[in-house]
């Protein structure tokens, strides 16, 4: 009797398990094996990408610090100290206080006595020595006026400068252009930082693309055979993209760990000076920066290899 072919019925779960195992084998295991086999040729891409990602992480942290510094500066610039003249009657102070409080551009007005001004000065490095060198309390009473918008600080300064309650010689803390200068410097640094990051990104993409191109050329025969036996496009291209992702992920992990380590080392070595120079950088922020560096590495690695595969691997 001739043989009869019976179509076996397999459960859906078993088929899914087989498909997943095959996809894992051809896409991920194959890519990992090829990555380790070509580790020598991938090493330059890995090291340059690690360096670039590390620089990106550090530039990112510096940028975050500068952003915080700018926020501090903006906060200080929106606070105007209106200095009272010596012996000013409280009625004049109250009148000025009422005028400022009723102004729509003003967010808040606080009266600071001479004693409070002295106490505050003693918190600022250098000023206690100045205070100790003079007889009595050299710091005047003031109205601390917080404006809603920094742009209104000049108008408020003009408004109070000629008031009878205000010290004629040193009327306010307003420094025309100081904030704008800081802003200009920070803007310049921000633009330079972004340009630097874009350049690093471009270099990282180019380096990874070249490494994947080299991998494609070294496995040209294998790719051709896979294509000729009917392997779908994703099965031919996928391993190269995964290889790029492995390179990017490893670079990102190493660069992220170093970024995190450097930030934590800085915090541990000199907590006070670190807070002054890099305001806002905490362990959490450093961990987030490390995670961003890792994800960026993964994205850059897989993205650039995808571009390379599309460009160098014909169907």
């Amino acid at each position: 009797m001739a043989g009869v072919v019976v179509k076996a019925h397999f459960s859906r779960r078993r088929i899914v398990r087989i498909v997943v195992a095959n996809v894992f084998r051809y896409l991920f295991r194959g890519a990992a094996r090829n990555w380790f086999r070509n580790a020598g040729s991938t090493a330059p891409a890995l090291s340059s990408m690690t360096l670039l990602l590390l620089l990106s992480g550090l530039v990112g942290l510096v940028g975050f610090s500068l952003h915080n510094l700018e926020q501090v500066q903006a906060g200080q610039a929106s606070l105007l100290h209106v200095y009272m003249r010596e012996g000013v009657p409280s009625t004049d102070v109250n009148a000025l206080w009422d005028r400022l409080a009723s102004d729509r551009r003003v967010a808040s007005v606080t009266y600071v006595t001479k004693a409070q001004a002295l106490a505050r000065a003693q918190q600022i490095p250098g000023l206690p020595q100045i205070a100790a060198a003079t007889d009595g309390n050299p710091f005047p009473a003031s109205l601390d006026v917080r404006v809603k918008s920094i742009d209104d600080a000049a108008a408020i300064d003009n408004l109070v400068r000629t008031d009878i309650a205000v010290d004629a010689l040193n009327p306010t803390s307003y420094d025309r252009g100081a904030y704008q200068r800081i802003q200009a410097v920070l803007f310049g640094l921000g633009v330079a930082g972004i340009a630097f990051l874009l350049l690093l990104g471009f270099v990282a993409i180019t380096v990874t693309m070249n490494s994947i191109r080299a991998a494609i050329h070294s496995r040209r025969d294998e790719v051709t055979i896979m294509q000729l036996v009917g392997a779908p496009r994703w099965m031919v291209r996928g391993p190269f993209v995964v290889e790029g992702a492995i390179t990017g992920a490893l670079s990102g992990a190493v660069a992220g760990l170093i970024t995190f380590g450097l930030a934590v080392a800085g915090m541990t070595a000199g907590p006070t000076s670190f807070t002054q120079f890099a305001p806002g950088i905490t362990v959490t922020v450093a961990a987030i920066a490390a995670a961003i560096v890792f994800v960026t590495g993964l994205g850059l690695g897989s993205g650039s290899s995808l571009i390379s595969v599309r460009r160098h691997l014909e169907s």
Binding site: I15, A21, P232
Partner: protein
């Protein structure tokens, strides 16, 4: 019987030069045919058009009902699962064993095939080509004839409707070449259409199968099986 392969007015140009010029042909399941012609006649181009390694400049190519002439790049792999290909240089993956090379062709075509099933079917195919005991050998551990048999096993393991072979005996001695031809005849007997491009005069004349002759890109002769006459051009090619 519905043709498994059909060329209708197919032309393929490389720049100003015509590699194939208005070719019409058809093959039915179970047919074994030779494609002959001098070097540069267009044999390899014709085979590459079947497997969609090339696109025709004009005309239509139908392979098992698939319009190969109009196929998107993303769907080429589907066509190739209907066509088994044997190359002169075998094209085996050196890092895989004979069995793995054969199983690979199965699994890349259908991810639902388990390792056990692929392995079993690959061994069946290797046994069919007389290499049941060499499944664990790597290509470099096999002779040229054995490597070509592995390539044939890989080409037929997915049970394609059409098998094309480009100079499959080009790197083999005469005895091994005859063994290969017996193998192709067996494959055709099971219903697969087999098209072999070759320069081997002795094989073509002795086997008395259908012979299609290409000269300068034109199909100048199509002799049915059993009526293969003298082919003067072969002596001069």
């Amino acid at each position: 019987m519905r043709p498994i392969l059909e060329f209708a007015g197919v032309t393929r140009a490389y720049g100003p030069r015509l590699a194939l010029d208005d070719v019409h042909l058809a093959m039915v399941p179970g047919e074994l045919a030779f494609l002959v012609g001098p070097s540069g006649a267009g044999k390899t181009t014709l085979l590459k058009l079947i497997n969609r390694e090339l696109r025709p400049t004009s005309g239509e190519i139908w392979v098992d009902g698939i319009a190969a002439h109009d196929l998107k790049a993303s769907r080429v792999s589907q066509l190739r699962r209907h066509v088994g290909v044997v190359f002169q240089d075998f094209k085996l993956l050196p890092r895989l064993t004979a069995k793995e090379n054969v199983a690979l062709a199965l699994q890349v075509g259908d991810l639902r095939i388990s390792d056990d099933e692929a392995s079993e079917r690959a061994m069946d195919a290797l046994e069919a080509v007389g290499l049941g005991d060499r499944g664990g050998a790597f290509p470099q551990q096999l002779s040229g004839g054995q490597q070509q048999r592995v390539a044939v096993a890989r080409a037929v393991v997915g049970q394609p409707r059409l098998l094309i072979a480009d100079e499959p005996t080009g790197n083999l001695d005469l005895e091994t070449s005859w063994q290969m031809m017996d193998l192709f005849a067996d494959i055709a007997a099971f219903g697969t259409a087999v098209l072999i491009a070759t320069h081997n005069v002795e094989i073509v004349t002795r086997l008395q199968r259908r012979v299609m002759t290409l000269v300068q890109g034109r199909l100048v002769r199509d002799q049915p099986a059993g009526r293969t006459g003298r082919m003067a051009w072969l002596a001069s090619s």
